[in-house]
């Protein structure tokens, strides 16, 4: 009965590769987010989609491309991975495009670039 689920949980890959992370929520929410958490635990928003429309794009390199096939899914594709991309990536969801309702987070995807 996991509310927000991400796959994979761990991703270890070489610099220069392309990889995808998938996220699904079964809460019936209309808004989904991707966050990046660095080694100092700092959480920063990357993207947000409301009803499959992009509403936040926080100056993320265009190597990162989110895709929302429907309201329950938000995937993140990363091209030409770099060492600095190593982090934990969290997906979240909430109801309503304005961030005035609790966001529910998945358990993260730990990305390690070799």
């Amino acid at each position: 009965d996991t509310a927000v689920s991400q796959t994979p949980k761990y991703l270890v890959t070489q610099m220069g590769n392309d990889k995808s992370i998938k996220c699904e929520q079964n809460l019936g929410h209309d808004t989904m987010y991707w966050y990046k958490q660095d080694s100092k635990k700092f959480l920063k928003i990357m993207f947000s989609y409301n009803n499959k429309e992009l509403i936040i794009n926080e100056t993320v390199p265009n190597r990162f491309s989110p895709k929302s096939p429907d309201k329950a899914h938000l995937n993140l594709h990363i091209n030409s991975l770099e060492l600095g991309d190593s982090a934990v990536y969290f997906c979240a969801s909430s109801q309503g495009g304005r961030a005035s309702q609790p966001q529910h987070f998945g358990d993260g995807t730990r990305l390690s670039i070799l």
Binding site: K41, F42, I56, R98, Q103, D107
Partner: protein, 112 residues
Amino acid sequence: GESVGLHLPTLSVQEGDNSIINCAYSNSASDYFIWYKQESGKGPQFIIDIRSNMDKRQGQRVTVLLNKTVKHLSLQIAATQPGDSAVYFCAENPLNGNKLVFGAGTILRVKS
């Protein structure tokens, strides 16, 4: 544990004592605030939220206080338990916008 090497503020409390975690927020126009708990290897878990038209809100064993005059938010945990050990984050929604801005986090360690 995962907190080793992290240079976040740390609060150490004895099991059974009350804990107070503080947060200073940046935007006086923020109208929504929220506290999250993050355990090792997990995602942030919602604890409690408060809107700017309130100054106090209580949940089960937790209370959030909002002081808009000094832009300060606090989370009080009553009768702290070992399971409360985690990193705690406050977040604000500036200007009724469409994103949350997170604070740096505070490590809570509960000693048995």
